[in-house]
């Protein structure tokens, strides 16, 4: 399978440092906030949300292909390469977020409301970060294009703050708002599909 054969060189080509730093920060904070005591559920939720934004901003850098001028001539089409990068970065940050969630879930007091609904927020943040960077990466092959993911995430965060889209658990809004987050997931996927198209 050519795609499988592509994974190893792509994994080497991707700049993993942003994802590694973001994952380490998220995990470190999950461990060190309120040391020696239970983690307040509110702080845990805040941590998981911050981890989603951090990892989304970091994952965007994985789409930057500094060799795009040369790789344009290889037989594997651009959309395959960019989707492979997207999936690899997405998988890495999903593992990092899941690890952060596990630490938070173990540290909140027993009987606290479940924070698992925050997973859909994190999924949208990661996809929004990737979708924010993808069009920039298409036009600009340099590393600053990856920052577009963070910019889109900050705008998304500001806009959703105004819409009260960050509910707290055990309220009527928790499930209802997350249903909207779930419904919004295809939007960044559509942007990614459009931006990952072949250039020629």
């Amino acid at each position: 399978m050519p795609v499988i054969a592509l994974l190893r060189p792509l994994a080497r080509a991707i700049d993993w440092l942003p994802v590694v730093v973001a994952a380490a920060l998220a995990l470190l904070l999950a461990v060190v906030v309120s040391p020696g005591a239970d983690l307040e559920p509110g702080h845990g939720l805040l941590l998981l949300r911050m981890a989603g934004v951090l990892l989304g901003a970091a994952a965007a850098f994985a789409l930057v292909d500094g060799m795009e001028a040369s790789t344009g001539a290889v037989p594997v089409p651009r959309w395959v390469r960019q989707w492979a990068r997207t999936l690899m970065a997405g998988a890495a940050v999903a593992v990092a977020w899941a690890a952060t969630y596990t630490v938070v879930a173990l540290r909140v007091p027993p009987g606290s409301p479940s924070l698992s609904g925050a997973a859909v927020e994190a999924a949208l943040c990661v996809l929004a970060g990737l979708a924010g960077a993808a069009p920039a990466v298409r036009r600009n092959h340099a590393r600053p294009a990856g920052l577009a993911g963070a910019a889109v995430l900050f705008v998304l965060y500001g806009a959703t703050q105004m819409a009260d889209a960050w509910p707290v658990p055990d309220t009527a809004e928790w499930d209802a708002v997350h249903a909207w987050w779930l419904a919004a997931l295809p939007l960044p996927l559509l942007v990614l599909a459009a931006a990952h198209r072949d250039v020629r």
Binding site: V33, A58, G146, L147, F154, G158
Partner: protein, 466 residues
């Protein structure tokens, strides 16, 4: 050479759609955040500065890109042939970016404060030092962005740092940890005393200078840079400590002033006199339906700094230092208190005409909700269903009061008859004509029905409340 580079960077940043887009987003967030409340300029200023951190984030990233520009796109080779050195370019960024960032943040904050001031009615006061703190924060962000560009090669660091700072502020909204050393403290209450905004501004400005000098130090340790850094550090640390200490010093609340409005006395903190007409208008549907002499029953309406549970321990109607524009929140609580006070209702209203009339008065001022289930009346029970929303009190928590009559108990029958009374066009005349009988503690609903022209319709519980 530095002068022309400073102008170049300043012009480039001033034309940046990212910075102006961030300002527009911050302004929209600030307006959205403040529109749900009557404007207390003390809190509006804090909200404005909080929203301006979006500008600060954009300035940080823009300054970072500007200061690191000479390391990208093959520029090192090109620039190597030119007379200007990297330190000149760094100096240009640390001089231009803070000024432009501060300017854009100032425009955003001024636009928000001006908008709120015009829409009024405003209470509190604009804390100029607090507002300047938002301006200084944007300048500081520029210094931080430049320092990061010079000391770290990774573009991911600025967004990660922004997330970390946002987390530190959000997890610490009252500044319990690190206090004055945080970029900003989100929450405030009148009961906490004045914010140490002057000390905090000094801290932010000095820290901005530390960061700018830190960016230049990447190009070598020079006496001027080292002296500037150490001097700024010598200001920043004591200023941060002073801001932390002042924030915890506590305060004595100012003496209240009393004003009459439509025959009711309101005693409020001096900066909140402008809100009295708002409260007066909220109570007008109640006061206009009762006889003139009944208004004498209403005690002084007193403004308090909210403290959960304290509201039910006083006989005086209470209003607060925060006031939502949603009429089902603070307004509904005040109307319920005054309706209870004017009818003389205390404690238990089940089966009593007083409760029916009080609920009718509440229904005249806003929506009359169904009676809460019996278990809701137990005081301070956890997770009890109540027929009133949780009423937010800003940094002072929130209040949940069962029912709509200041915690006085009633049932479905009282609500049902009050609704029937609301449907009658002659209700005001009948209530006024029989006021003394209807508001006598011993009058039951059954005795009141003929006086109000109502027929028996709902089963009334006449046994005393448990």
């Amino acid at each position: 050479m530095t002068g022309s580079l400073v102008l170049f960077e300043a012009r480039r940043l001033l034309r940046s759609p990212v910075l102006w887009g961030a300002a527009a987003l911050a302004l929209a967030m600030a307006v959205a955040g403040s529109s749900a409340w009557l404007p207390d300029m003390t809190m509006v200023t804090i909200g404005s500065v909080t929203a301006s951190t979006i500008v600060g984030a954009a300035v940080l990233i823009s300054a970072n890109l500007a200061a690191g520009r000479d390391r990208r796109h093959g520029l090192p080779e090109t620039l190597g042939a030119l007379p200007g050195r990297a330190v000149t370019r760094t100096r240009a960024v640390v001089l231009a970016a803070p000024v432009v960032g501060a300017l854009i943040a100032a425009v955003m904050i001024a636009a928000h404060l001006g908008y709120v001031w015009v829409t009024g009615p405003v209470a509190g006061r604009i804390d100029v030092y607090e507002a300047l703190g938002g301006v200084a924060l944007a300048a500081l962000a520029a210094g931080l962005g430049a320092a990061l560009a010079r000391w770290t090669p990774w573009l991911v660091v600025p967004p990660l740092l922004i997330c970390l700072l946002a987390f530190a502020v959000a997890v610490n909204p009252r500044g319990e940890y690190a206090g004055g050393f945080l970029p900003l403290v989100l929450e405030h209450s009148l009961g906490w005393g004045p914010r140490p905004s002057r000390e905090h501004l000094a801290y932010l400005v000095a820290l901005g200078v530390v960061l700018a000098a830190g960016a230049l130090l990447r190009h070598g340790l020079r006496p001027v840079r080292a002296v500037v850094l150490l001097t700024a550090l010598a200001v920043a640390v004591p200023a941060g400590m002073a801001a932390t200490a002042s924030a915890r010093s506590g305060t004595k609340l100012p003496a209240q002033v009393c004003r009459a409005y439509e025959g009711v006395s309101y005693c409020v903190y001096p900066e909140y006199v402008a809100w009295i007409p708002v409260w007066g208008r909220a109570l007008h549907p109640v006061l206009s339906a009762v006889p003139e002499r009944a208004r004498a029953r209403i005690p002084v309406v007193r403004q308090r700094v909210a403290s959960p549970g304290a509201m039910l321990e006083t006989d005086e109607p209470v209003t607060w230092t925060v006031w939502s524009t949603d009429p089902t929140l603070h307004q509904a609580l005040l109307v319920g208190q005054v309706a209870g006070a004017v009818t003389g209702l205390t404690g238990c209203g089940t089966g009593r005409a007083q409760a029916m009339v009080a609920l009718w008065l509440v229904g005249r001022a806003g929506p009359l909700l169904d009676a809460p289930p019996p278990q809701a009346w137990r005081p301070h029970g956890p997770d009890l269903p109540v027929s009133m929303k949780e009423v937010p009190m800003g940094a002072d928590g929130s209040l949940v009061v069962p029912g709509q009559l200041h915690g006085a108990q009633y049932g479905d029958a009282e609500v049902g008859y009050a609704r029937r009374l609301l449907e009658r066009p002659d209700a005001v005349e009948r209530v006024r004509a029989h006021w003394d009988t209807l508001t006598a503690p011993g009058t039951t609903i059954k005795q009141a029905l003929p006086l109000l022209g109502l027929r028996e319709e709902f089963p009334v519980k006449e046994e005393p409340c448990p």
